[in-house]
């Protein structure tokens, strides 16, 4: 089956729902659909117009400027650690090639980095594990401290910065963080090594598997490895199939 046939078009939607004949949907909904260009033909796997530029395809965005990091070495430290968490192997690329560090850079520059939607009022106390995140630091501060500590420990143990270590040495150090064997140099209610490791691990998975509009998951290779098709309009035609489907992934930016 070609991709075109599998694609759910706006026309199909209107047919299935009876909207085209009944005209039941309100203007607001149809208005909303305009942005999607469902019935663009061919589907927008290629840039449709020049104004979207070369980055438009599939939301794939390889911009490599910095929004948060101020020096290459910080990005390289994070990238090296992320690559150990999600390494390249025979299944496909690792976190580094997928751009997970650039994903994090963008996120740290925004709401995520400054904990905009989180309750950040004091007083701050160390909680029990079941009480969750209690740090006064926002994620920018947490990652800044974490990078510093990764390098500090690398220098203590191996006389070199983290990003210059052998993979096995990096793993050793990351394990020290994970198991709480690293002193973060601040009170436990401010930051702990396992909590930093947890943030880093989660950010790695997010960077590898988020929609490419966030600068990670380059070429949707993260999704391809996992066989996640990303943004699809509908599975109603295949949902009861016994056979397994491999579907070319699409970014949510598709059709913009």
């Amino acid at each position: 089956m070609s991709k075109d046939e599998k694609r759910f078009s706006r026309r199909d939607f209107l047919k299935t729902t009876g909207v085209a004949t009944g005209g039941i949907l309100g203007g607001s909904l149809l208005g909303g659909f305009i942005g999607y260009n469902f019935d663009q033909s061919p589907p927008a796997t290629e840039p449709e117009t020049a104004e979207h530029g070369e980055e438009a395809s599939g939301g794939d965005n390889h911009h490599t400027g910095y929004l948060f990091f101020t020096k290459h070495s910080d990005r390289e430290t994070i990238e090296a650690a992320m690559e150990r968490i999600f390494p390249e192997d025979d299944l496909g690329p690792g976190a580094a090639a997928l751009g997970a560090a650039y994903f994090l850079d963008g996120q740290l520059a925004g709401d995520y980095g400054s904990n905009t939607k989180e309750y950040m009022q004091g007083p701050f106390y160390e909680g029990s594990a079941t009480q969750g995140y209690q740090s006064r630091l926002n994620r920018r501060e947490y990652f800044t401290l974490g990078i510093l500590k990764l390098n500090e420990v690398a220098n203590e143990e191996h006389d070199a910065d983290f990003r210059a270590l052998e993979p096995e040495q990096m793993d050793e150090i990351l394990t020290l963080f994970q198991e709480g064997e690293v002193d973060m140099g601040v009170p436990a209610h401010t930051a702990t090594a396992p909590e930093f490791f947890g943030l880093l691990r989660t950010a790695t998975l997010e960077g590898v598997y988020s929609d490419p509009i966030y600068r990670g998951n380059r070429g949707m290779e993260g999704w391809k490895m996992k066989n996640f098709p990303g943004h699809q309009m509908a599975y109603i035609e295949q949902i009861d199939d016994g056979e397994f489907h491999e579907i070319d992934p699409q970014s949510v930016a598709e059709g913009h």
């Binding site: 759910f8 939607f13 299935t16 729902t17 039941i24 949907l25 607001s28 909904l29 909303g32 942005g35 999607y36 968490i85 999600f86 390494p87 192997d89 299944l91 904990n115 905009t116 939607k117 989180e118 309750y119 950040m120 009022q121 007083p123 106390y125 909680g127 029990s128 594990a129 079941t130 009480q131 969750g132 995140y133 209690q134 990351l174 994970q178 790695t204 998975l205 997010e206 598997y209 988020s210 509009i213 999704w223 996992k226 066989n227 996640f228 098709p229 990303g230 943004h231 699809q232 509908a234 599975y235 109603i236 295949q238 949902i239 009861d240 199939d241 016994g242 397994f244 489907h245 949510v252």
Partner: protein, 575 residues
């Protein structure tokens, strides 16, 4: 100085499912209704770009802004309660539609047993079984299933519920308005295995539509496309019943309903001359910072479990529950939900990335009192189900228990397992306990200077054994399903506010027929204030082995009827 606005017949605080239902019914009856909603307006035109796991499911785009308001939490009274600084365990709703915008639509009616759990348990097993001496506080709801049935049906018709007869549930006066969801290979495997064991598996009742449906109010819903971005997301097709696709437009079309957004209510105003009445609410326009007083003949709190409790408490309405003396009722019987299940590993690949919010099959053979509890250390049970809601890659990283949580092995296993496992899961009732309750916090405040709600909660021993019992049953079903390898959940530990479990919080403003043990009567009318109604899962004296919203919807329809009756006759509705 707050500006006083023109008086209306009814003000609802919050415009989600409960607010929308009350507004629609009251407005249809000709009452003037204002809905005050702290969040912003939104609708289907805002949902055309939602297939983005990171923004919506991970960063909670559609949900409560916890920088402005959250709760504090501790497991036990001897701990210091600390703020839930980011959401995790449950995802609170905000903006028009509330949590109904981003719910799944799995819509189970509670069992007849639930509403009379104390009496029926005593009758079958004797009083000792209730575990009063262990601090358990099972109580009847002051209403029966049969009394609630018409309201369940009303909600089913409003949302166009798609389903298949459940041989074990309470009886239905009307058939399901729409046929069940599509039976997928994963679900068929589960149903066949379970039914082969003599259990009663059937398709889950779904508020994702299976055909075009026009409800009795004239609102039309479209067929679900199984887009797999449903729970935590909003539907781009008008195919998921939500307040903004059903009851809110119904209310607006009457011309009697006015939604005021970015209106955060901070107080229910009591009547200076009459301590059996309230006179309206005070709210803050969150954009301008201005304060307004909205006078109303009837005030209905529809602001979910925590804020329904909070608004009563900060307005000094009713008596706060004290776990030491067990005096007071406001805040008592807080409850939640536990999950006990098992995961099966298969060679076959399933289309796990396809799905819909309420696509699933379930069975009630181990729910309620459908099985003999004589030799068991717990009451109640849970619905066991397999769902296919659409697995997404950031959140779905399944490993066997001893696989490392990162590195090469982790990567390989999580990628392989993504399409090769099935989880069978029991959604369990929880036992109300005298030490599980809501209070207000003395240290932390919200953006408007009000104290945060303080939650003290832990699972009880009976919750642990019930959940484990269900998990073991799930393991048995997976064996029958032919899994190569089965990992059954360990016994649950302490309640943890971090990982997502469910937005099935209950209690705190419970209903009943006795003002000594409840906050509202069975019309959701406050015991002390005749023109004040409080509705939501906060009315549940305990949580059942199901998702809550069918029962929430039924209670909201009953509440709406109470509001209308009160507007005509006044006085106490229980008389």
């Amino acid at each position: 100085m707050a500006e006083t606005l023109d008086k209306v017949d009814v003000v609802t605080v919050g415009v989600g499912w409960t607010g929308g239902i009350v507004a629609a019914e009251a407005a249809k009856a000709g009452l003037s209704v204002v809905g005050l909603e702290r969040g912003k307006n939104r609708g289907t035109e805002d949902y055309q770009h939602v297939h983005d796991e990171y923004r919506y499911a991970i960063r909670y785009e559609l949900m409560q802004d916890t920088s402005k308001e959250t709760i504090t939490f501790r497991n036990t009274r001897d701990e210091r309660a600390l703020p839930m600084r980011r959401m995790g365990s449950f995802l609170l709703g905000e903006n028009v539609g509330g949590a109904g915008t981003h719910w799944n639509g799995q819509t189970w009616r509670f069992l007849p047993y639930d509403f009379e759990i104390r009496s029926l348990t005593e009758e079958r097993y004797g009083e000792d079984k209730l575990g009063d001496d262990k601090g358990y506080r099972w109580q009847d709801w002051g209403i029966t299933y049969d009394e609630l049935e018409p309201y369940f049906t009303q909600f089913d018709l409003t949302i166009g519920l798609a389903g298949e007869e459940n041989p074990l549930g309470g009886s239905r006066s009307e058939p399901f308005p729409t046929p069940p969801m599509i039976e997928t290979p994963m679900l068929k495997l589960f149903k066949d295995a379970a039914n082969g064991m003599g259990l009663h598996a059937h398709m889950m009742p779904s508020a994702n539509m299976t055909q075009q449906y026009t409800n009795p109010d004239g609102q039309t819903l479209q067929p679900c496309q199984y887009c797999a971005f449903c729970e935590r997301f909003a539907c781009e097709y008008d195919a998921k019943s939500s307040p903004e696709t059903t009851v809110i437009p119904t209310a607006l079309e009457t011309g009697n309903f006015d939604i005021r957004t970015q209106a955060n209510v901070v107080e229910v105003l009591t009547d200076e001359d009459d301590d059996s009445l309230v006179s309206g609410v005070r709210y803050i326009d969150t954009l301008s910072g201005e304060e307004f007083i909205q006078p109303a003949d009837i005030v209905v709190l529809n602001s979910y479990v925590f804020n329904n409790y909070k608004l009563l408490r900060v307005s000094d309405i009713g008596e706060q529950y004290d776990p030491e003396t067990e005096e007071g009722t406001l805040g008592r019987n807080y409850g939640y939900q536990t999950f006990g299940g098992a995961r099966g590993f298969f060679d076959t690949q399933f289309n796990t990335f396809m799905g819909a919010g309420a696509l699933g099959a379930g069975l009630d053979d181990y729910n309620g009192d459908e099985f003999d509890h004589s030799d068991l250390d717990f009451l109640h049970g849970g619905n066991i189900a397999v769902t296919q809601t659409g697995s997404r890659p950031i959140a779905t990283n399944i490993t066997r228990p001893d696989t490392p949580s990162w590195g090469a092995e982790f990567k390989k296993e999580t990628i392989e397992n993504y399409t090769r496992t099935i989880r069978v899961q029991g959604q369990c009732a929880t036992t109300p306990h005298k030490d599980n309750y809501l209070d207000i916090d003395e240290d932390y405040t919200d953006a408007y200077g009000l104290p945060l709600v303080q939650l003290t909660y832990n699972f009880t021993d009976s919750d642990r054994v019930r959940t484990k019992y269900l998990a073991d049953r799930c393991g048995e079903i997976l064996e029958e399903m032919g899994a190569n390898e089965i990992v059954v959940d360990e016994e649950i530990g302490d309640y943890d506010i971090v990982p997502y479990q469910s937005t099935h919080n209950t209690g705190g403003t419970v209903m009943g027929d006795d003002p000594e043990t409840s906050v509202v009567n069975n019309w959701m009318q406050h015991w002390d204030r005749d023109n004040l109604f409080v509705v939501g899962a906060g009315n549940f004296p305990h949580n059942s082995g199901y998702n809550p919203t069918s029962t929430v919807g039924a209670l909201a329809y009953r509440c709406a009827e109470g509001v209308i009756t009160y507007s005509e006759d006044g006085g106490r509705l229980e008389d």
